[in-house]
Amino acid sequence: MNLVRSHVLVCGGTGCTSSGCEKLIKEFDVQLAKAGIDKEVKVVKTGCFGLCALGPIVIVYPEGAFYSMVKEENIEEIVNEHLLKGRIVTHLLYDESVHEGEEIKPLNEIDFYKKQMRIALRNCGVIDPENIDEYIAFDGYKALGKVLTEMTPEEVIAVVKESSLRGRGGAGFPTALKWEFAAKQPKGQKFVCCNADEGDPGAFMDRSILEGDPHCVIEAMTIAAYAIGSNQGYIYIRAEYPIAVNRLQKAINQAKEYGLLGDNIFGTDFSFDLEIRLGAGAFVCGEETALMTSIEGYRGEPRPRPPFPAVKGLWGVPTILNNVETYANIPQIILNGAEWFKGIGTEKSKGTKVFALGGKIHNTGLVEVPMGTTLREIVEEIGGGIPDGKKFKAAQTGGPSGGCIPTSLIDTPIDYDSLTKIGAMMGSGGLIVMDEDSCMVDIAKFFLEFTVDESCGKCAPCRIGTKRMLEILEKITSGNGTVEDIENLKDLANTIKSSALCGLGQTAPNPILSTLKYFEDEYMAHVVEKRCPAGACKDLLSYVIIADKCKGCTICAKNCPVNAISGEVKKPFVIDQDTCIKCGVCEGKCPFKAIVRQ
């Protein structure tokens, strides 16, 4: 008889894996056995809970106790106190989750979760992603059953169309339209593909869904295949996501074992099979035509459209390609209906969006909010604000294809159209928060370095143009820029935007254009005054010792790695600007705050 009375959920997402959750699970096994309760308590490795900054995270049910930043040595206490004696170890709980009276709050009352609405992430952190039964217990494969036994392919497309679901990969193209185009092509071989080639710096939404709930993507792809009349699918995922690849493969195997993939699913004459294709991690392979070229075994380069993939895609046959998060919404739309989905979000952007919250923010992690939630709500309420009492300066959405949202627009509702209107873009969901110490020219340079690296080189505007833009940015940040450079930069950016072959090149100038739009004064400060207002560009910066404040204690001189500081004891010291490498060590070490950046 199985007597499980308590479940210990340990986050097994990539974030918590790197902060050591594997060790915790082992230690739980050891300590539970030692206490003699290993048969009563079940340890489950789940997907991402979202609060990555506080990892590794452990949640104990039925109490719902939320332990954060758990260390190996805490496990013994949790086992002996909480699991054996029923006394929750309050000092290890996440502060936010405890009421003043030491009563535990339910998870959905914690600030971080309160404003969230989890549709794509509904099972992440709740189920064991490696156990298909748990997915089924939370209504998994029910939508597929409904589709195959009660609906025609046309009805499936009609529901998705009615729900107004738009692609979550970035451009926001209506999902049902793609399906409809592909379905209308003459009968014959067709393919269903999933884009899991998430590559923007700081984005990990798709990875977390695949790690936490791989079956929902498999189920949705099978539904899509039924809708367009396909019998074969491919998930294109980067090999850099080993945990996701591993769990996805296990999930596919389990689904095949249960007959949820393969021939005659649910006793119908519909058959569908699914395979993983590993990508080598080239950003351009997130572009649909390049992705398909890569699946075919060729070098991942885009080709001009039309013909669109829905007409002529993988191996020249009609193919649909959707992003992981888009698929994750499908089973819920089928089960709850289009009306339910349409009730969430704004007029033209329905449903929710997952964001990977990063940068200068308290609660780094994964959040899912209804469309139309303002940036302020995400940053201040869910994200917990900016650490160290610094001020919010801007948020960058959409990674290297997106733009910046300045403080003045912090109340912008986050949806496809509002973001495009202000020159940013939804993108796949990376949201990087910047504070007053971030230099906007430097940020633009960072993203340009990325696109220059990742440009496939097929078309000249992107291959040569992005490189030239980067050179100009380097010139500006090193203090050698001129006002003319800024004009050239604008010219180049607009030309590349309208002439590049694929989405990568067309959107590459966005970080420059949007920072120029909202922070042109910062660019001007770099070229005219040769000054970096945020104090981030090293070449435009010098450290000096204020003679009046310096007590001649010699601490700075002792800590300087290049011996650039000299002076006589008890007299003001001096920094030799030619030797100084601007590492900032002295500023941090000075007990009298006598060293300043200029």
């Binding site: 479940h7 959920l9 719902g64 054996l84 029923g86 039964d133 029910k142 059953g145």
Partner: protein, 130 residues
């Protein structure tokens, strides 16, 4: 997978195992005092019997949880039952045998067992002293 029934069967079977992960279920909560005093008096067997019984009867709306010392160590093992919208009922000096009755009479048939409660234990004490 050949039919929807098969899927439903897996769903129901697994749901019983993992329903406790729903935050603050609306249903009934049974809490066992599992401090040193409780464990010494045999709370572990009581707890296991409760979990066992709940599982046997497929009572998916019931959560069995544990708590620390309830304070009346001499009356351990103590079990408290929280029914939505009702005063909590505290059972004392519990045993695996008593558990079966609590589940069938109180949890399933909604009739608290007076003679097991703390009130009746105190009454008994009083009478003995007199």
């Amino acid at each position: 997978m050949k039919s929807l029934q098969e899927l439903e069967a897996i769903r129901n079977k697994t749901l019983n195992e993992i329903h406790m992960r729903n935050d603050r279920t609306e249903g009934i909560r049974i809490v066992v005092g599992m401090a040193t005093c409780g464990i010494a008096a045999g709370a572990r067997q009581v707890l296991n019997a409760l979990v066992d019984e709940v599982k046997k009867r497929n009572l998916s709306q019931v959560t069995v949880a544990q708590t620390g010392c309830i304070g009346m160590c001499r009356l351990e093992p103590i079990v408290e039952v929280y029914m939505p919208g009702e005063e909590k009922v505290t059972y004392v000096k519990m045993s695996p045998e008593k558990v079966a009755r609590v589940i069938s009479e109180h949890i399933v048939n909604k009739k608290a067992i007076k003679e097991f409660t703390v009130g009746s234990a105190e009454q008994q004490d009083k009478e003995e002293r007199e």
